[in-house]
C-alpha cells in the first residue's frame, strides 16, 4: 500500500524521505497519522532495488521548493516506476477494499479513470456492507450475551458503517452522472496538479452535507 502512495507522490515531484513523510501525512491524514521511518526507508530501499525509483545523493542542483540546505538523498520516480504506479492504480485486489488500501486508492482518484473509480467504490461498498451486516447480526443476537459496553461499541461501529455506505452511494451516483466530489460548502476544486493522462473531469458537482 505504501508503495502505491510513494510512487504517486514521487510522480508529482522528486523528494527526500522527510518531505515524503510529511506529504504522506497530509494526503493520507485520514488513513494513518504519519508513516513511520522504520517503514519508509526500507520501502524506499525496496522500490529502489526494484528499479521503480532512483536515489540521487544530491548536493548540486537542488530543487528550489525547500529551504534547500544540504539535503541528503533525493528520490525520483523512473519510467518503470510510472508504469508500476499505473498498474497498481488500475488493478484491485482484496486489499484494495480495506481501510488503508481504499484510502490510498481514493487519494489518487484524480489520476484514475472513471471505470476503475467505480469498480473500487463498489468493491469498497460491498466490503463495508458485509461488515455492516455482520454487526447487525451480532447486535440482534446480542441481548444478554454481550455486556452494555460491548454492545455500545458495536452500535457505534454499525452507525459508522451505515454512514460510510451512504457516503459511498453518493460518490457512486456522482461518478455515474459524471460529477466530481465537492468541497465542504459545495464548491468544486479541480485538481491543481498538471497530471498528464488524467480522466476528463466534467464540472458542476453537487454533494449536500448530511
Amino acid at each position: 500500500m505504501l508503495e502505491l502512495a510513494i510512487l504517486g507522490l514521487l510522480q508529482e515531484a522528486p523528494m527526500h524521505g522527510y518531505e515524503l513523510r510529511k506529504e504522506l501525512a497530509t494526503k493520507l491524514g485520514t488513513i494513518r497519522a504519519a508513516i513511520s521511518y522504520g517503514t519508509l526507508y526500507p520501502t524506499l530501499k525496496r522500490l529502489h532495488h526494484a528499479g521503480w525509483i532512483t536515489e540521487s545523493s544530491a548536493d548540486a542542483a537542488m530543487i528550489p521548493p525547500m529551504t534547500s540546505k544540504r539535503g541528503r538523498v533525493v528520490y525520483k520516480i523512473t519510467a518503470e516506476g510510472k508504469e508500476r504506479f499505473a498498474d497498481l492504480l488500475a488493478q484491485a485486489g482484496p486489499e484494495t477494499y480495506d481501510d488503508a488500501g481504499f484510502g490510498v486508492h481514493f487519494a489518487f482518484f484524480s489520476r484514475t479513470d472513471r471505470a476503475t473509480r467505480l469498480r473500487i467504490l463498489e468493491g469498497r461498498r460491498r466490503r463495508v456492507e458485509e461488515r455492516r451486516e455482520g454487526l447487525r447480526e451480532v447486535l440482534s443476537r446480542a441481548t444478554g450475551r454481550l455486556d452494555a459496553y460491548t454492545q455500545e461499541l458495536q452500535r457505534h461501529g454499525l452507525e459508522a458503517a451505515e454512514r460510510e455506505v451512504r457516503w459511498l452511494e453518493e460518490l457512486i451516483t456522482n461518478e455515474r452522472s459524471g460529477r466530481t466530489p465537492a468541497g465542504p460548502s459545495g464548491e468544486l476544486h479541480l485538481p491543481a496538479d498538471p497530471a498528464g493522462d488524467a480522466p476528463p473531469e466534467p464540472p458542476r458537482p453537487h454533494m449536500d452535507r448530511p
Copy 2:
C-alpha cells in the same frame, strides 16, 4: 493488544484457538474483522511461555458448550494471567488510544473501574480531537493544493472524527453521572457475565440516538 483480548476472553471460559478466534471476531467486530491464525497461535504460544495461560491437550473431560468432538488444545488462564490482565486493563500507554487499542479496552469496560474508564475515554477523546484539528488545518489550507477527491476524503474523515468526539463526550458525561451505555432504543443491558470484581453499575441510562 491481542494479548489483552485473549486474556480477557479466557477469563470468561477456557477455549481452544478456533473458538477464541470466533469470540474475538464478535467481540471486536468493530475493530478488526477476524484475527489471523498467523497471529493467534504465535501469541498463544507467547502467553503460554510467559506463564499467563496453560495449554492442556484435552481429550477427556471436555467442556460441554461445543459439539465437543475430539478437541485439540484447550487454553486456560492462570492466576498470573489474571493479574496480568488486570494490569493491562488498568495501565494506559499511548497505544491505548489508537483505534485498535481503544476498541479492545472499551470492549472490557464492564471489568474496568470507573476511574480508569474515564481516563481512557478522555485520552481517546484527546487523540481524536488532535486528529480532527489536523484535518481541519489541512482542509482550510487545501484550496488549490489538494484535488477534489483528496479533499473529499479528508472531509469524510473530519466528519467521522467530529462524530466520534461527540460520542465520547456523551459516554464521558454518562460515566460522570454514574450511568451505563444504552442499547439502540435506549434500553439498558447490564453485563450478563458474572464478572467478580466489576464496578458498581447503577441503573438508569440515557443515550439518545443522533
